[in-house]
């Protein structure tokens, strides 16, 4: 790293900015003077608000990443896509059978998939999007739920789909159907809910309420962020 220049130049929607090497795209934008109001959420790679597309010199391929996770490169040409218009059905998941007919009636466009795999290529989470749309077409709800589990709903798949499918909304419907109708209820969850309803947490909560601001600050500062190895 020693012989690499300390600064890199990247292009945001065509305009060049010089920033120190090693920053994430998000931090590089802030270094360049932007104040992020949209397209910036958890800053930790989970919320999916900062989907970014970019190209690098000499490569025709469109590359993707989350702005909060991807390190800025010299000569990177990028744009954030914080929002992409989507169709979203409203439903009561309790009332829907977990079948292909449910998915197809709420999102009939899934049958327009031509199998181009553009969604998979653009997914920053490397999810097998085309595969789960194929599973959705044939009503394999469990497979859609499992394949799409790491989806952050950044929306980049929908931005690239020639069949105009909004894949991530199909996927979350499938995960809801799976959780509601297919997966076995979790015994430990039911036991815990019952425990809480019996008042297992009341004493601790009362202590916290009574402790006051100074003690809250002390406890917050002393909290365990990552468990010690």
């Amino acid at each position: 790293m020693a012989d690499e220049p300390a600064m890199v130049q990247f292009y945001l929607m065509g305009k060049p900015h010089r920033v120190p090497r090693g920053l994430t795209i998000q931090k590089a934008m802030e270094y360049a003077g932007f104040r992020l109001l949209r397209g910036c959420g958890c800053r930790g790679g989970f919320c999916g608000a900062c989907g970014t597309v970019y190209r690098t010199p000499g490569d025709y391929r469109l590359k993707v990443g989350l702005a909060c996770q991807t390190v800025v490169e010299d000569q990177m040409f990028l744009a954030l896509i914080p929002f992409y218009p989507a169709v979203k059905s409203t439903y009561r998941v309790e009332d829907l059978p977990p079948t292909s007919d449910t998915l197809i009636s709420l999102y009939p466009e899934i049958l327009r998939c031509v199998g181009c795999n553009s969604c998979r290529k653009v997914c920053p989470q490397e999810i097998e999007v085309m595969r789960y749309i194929a599973a959705a077409q044939r009503g394999d709800i469990a497979k859609v739920a499992n394949l799409s589990f790491d989806c952050l709903m950044c929306g980049l798949c929908a931005s690239r789909c020639p069949a105009e499918i909004v894949q991530y909304n199909v996927a979350i419907l499938a995960r809801r159907l799976y959780a509601c109708h297919v997966a076995r209820p979790a015994d430990h969850l039911a036991a815990r809910v019952e425990e809480i309803e019996r008042g297992a947490c009341e004493a601790d909560l009362d202590l916290m309420v009574a402790a006051g601001e100074a003690e809250w600050r002390r406890l917050y500062a002393a909290r365990e962020i990552e468990p010690d190895e």
Partner: protein, 303 residues
Amino acid sequence: MRLGGGSVRIPYFPGCTLHSKARGFDASARAAAQALDIIMEELPEWTCCGATFSMSADSVMGLVAPTRILVSAKEAGKLLTLCSFCYNTLKRTNRVIATDAERRRKVLTFIEEDYQGTVQTVHLLELLRDEIGFDALAKRVTKPLQGLKVAPYYGCLLLRPAEELRFDDPERPTILENFLKSIGCEVVDFPHKTECCGSFVTVGSPETARECSSSILEAAVKQGAEMLVVSCPLCQYNLDRAQREAPAGQAHAPAVPVLYFSQLLAIALGCDEACLHLDGLSVDPRPRLSKWLGQKAEVTALA
């Protein structure tokens, strides 16, 4: 694949409908194949084949999905399928990839694969005819369906375009007849066996499709058919639906069960009846089949 001596495995592409509406087609074929020592190995990953072969000469998008499916069977060199739509789409796509260098290059560059069109798409009927042989099949039958009068219905997509599919004679096909004879059935010949059932016209103009299907059923019943067999989920749907959905004032089409050929095959080979999925038809075939079905199925039929 070589038969004889242990079971053989062949990659299998079910297609979407066989995983949803036509489960009986899929399950009965798998069970019957297993009884014949053939393991139908479903491709680990697959998408819809597109269902219709793209006739467009200047767009390759319709070739992308079926080509990707063919590529995934590259190593085995063969891909088994059952649905007439899938068979038609995969086989015709492969012909384009094998013979049209420009479109091959375009599709394969796009999907980033290397493939020369070497996979042979095989229909289960072809496997029975060419690899096992109908005479040998007859010897494996444990419950010959003696006395059952069955009309073979081909529809369009298994046979046409004949010069591309090379499946059977498009005007006077015999493969289903020979198959039915090998499992003991009495074949009912009828003039409409290669007429169109209405196909996907059923979506936009259900009445047109109903008329097409009704005339097929009438012709078969007139010749004494007690059942029809098909190899296409859409033919099955159209023929079955014509029996229950008639416009006010019009007669329903003749009531006759429409089965997948693999369902009769599984019965004749003595497979577990759980694979048959014979429920949900306009006319319950189980009373007529009770002679060959076990006690449990007879009870269900009476219930």
